[in-house]
Symmetry: C2
Subunit: 194 residues, 2 copies
C-alpha cells in the first residue's frame, strides 16, 4: 500500500472483530468508529439491495472531515427462502445451522466508502456450500464458539466452517464480512487521486 | 469431535505450519512427525495424480503402529501451462506471481490417511482467480512476507491473497494446504469404526 496518500485517515465504521482483523491484514492503519443506526430496511428490498442500503445508511450517519476515508459495510446471509440475521438465542442459532446444513446459501456484503467529496457503494456475493451437519456437531459448535455474534449463526473461520464447509464460490473474506480485494482496489483508486 | 475413539493417536506427517494450524482449528489432538521423501514423481503424471502419489509416498515412509492414524498431504499449484513448486529465490517467486496475476490457476491437495489396517487416499481441487498484481505489489509482498516457503510463491491467507484474490471456487482451506472438511469426515469414518 505504498502508493496511498499518507494524509488519509482511514476509518472503519464497524465494530466487527473480523472486519478489524481483515483491515489489519490488508496492511492499513485505521481507527474504528462506532456508528449506531436503526438497521431496518424496506421489506420489498432484496438482500443485496438491503446490504448496500444499510452500508450507505451507516456512512451517512457519520460526519466526514477533510482527509477522512470512511469504510462502512453490512453483511447479509440468505437462502432461497430466508434471510438470516444474528441469532438471539442458542436455539435460534441451532435452527439457522439446521437450515443451512447440506445445502448452499448466499452471503452478500454491501460496502460504502466515503470521503469528503466522493462516495462509492458496491457489493460482493459469495455462495457457501455446507455438508450435512449432525445435531452433535451443531450443539458442539454452539456450546463452544460464539455463534450469536454472527449473521447466519456461524463464522466461516470457526470450527464449524473448517469441518463443515465443502466449498465456496466467490470471495472467502466476503463471507467473513468484507470483500477485501474489492475494498483494497477501491481505496487505492480513491485515495491516490486526491 | 466427541464421537472419536480416544485411543487414536493422530499423527500429522507434515511440517507445514498451515496444516498444523488447520488441524488445531479442527479441534484435534495430534503430534507432528517429520517424514523425508524424495519428492520426484513420474513426469507423465498429472498434477492431481502427482499430489496423491506423493501423499501416499509420505505415508508409506512411516511405520504405523496400532491405534495410529497418520495424515499425509501434498499440495501442488498449477496452471494450464506450468506446475509451480516452492520458489528457490525471490526472483523465482516474482516470476511465479507474475504468471498467476490476472488469471486463474489450480490448487490440488492429495491426502493419504493411514491406519494399521486401512489406508485411504483422495484429493481436492480448488480454482483461484487473482486480480492483476502490480510490480510494486509483488515486490512489497516478497520483501515483507515468506513467499519462498509456499508452492506458487504465495499464501492465500497472506497480504497478497487478501488484497489480490478476486474469488475462489472450491475449498479455501485446501488452498492453504489441507481440504479440512474432507479430512474431518474421513477421520470420523475411519476412527469411529475400529
Amino acid at each position: 500500500m505504498e502508493k496511498l496518500n499518507t494524509n488519509i485517515n482511514i476509518i472503519l465504521g464497524s465494530q466487527s472483530p473480523r472486519r478489524k482483523e481483515l483491515l489489519k491484514l490488508m496492511g492499513l492503519d485505521f481507527k474504528v468508529e462506532k456508528i449506531n443506526i436503526n438497521e431496518d430496511f424496506p421489506t420489498q428490498f432484496s438482500a443485496t439491495k438491503a446490504a448496500i442500503f444499510l452500508s450507505k445508511k451507516k456512512a451517512n450517519a457519520y460526519t466526514i472531515r477533510k482527509n477522512d476515508l470512511l469504510i462502512c459495510a453490512d453483511t447479509i446471509v440468505y437462502s432461497d427462502k430466508n434471510i438470516f440475521g444474528k441469532p438471539n438465542t442458542k436455539k435460534q442459532a441451532a435452527t439457522m445451522l439446521q437450515a443451512i446444513s447440506n445445502k448452499r446459501h448466499f452471503v452478500v456484503t454491501g460496502v460504502t466508502i466515503k470521503m469528503i467529496n466522493k462516495e462509492v457503494s458496491f457489493h460482493e456475493r459469495s455462495i457457501v456450500y455446507f455438508n450435512k451437519l449432525s445435531k452433535q456437531e451443531i450443539t458442539f459448535y454452539i456450546e463452544n464458539y460464539n455463534a450469536l455474534d454472527k449473521a447466519g449463526g456461524y463464522g466461516i473461520q470457526d470450527w464449524i466452517g473448517i469441518i463443515g464447509i465443502k466449498k465456496i464460490s466467490g470471495c472467502y473474506y466476503n463471507v467473513m464480512g468484507l470483500p477485501t480485494s474489492l475494498v483494497y482496489n477501491q481505496i487505492i483508486k480513491m485515495a491516490t487521486c486526491l
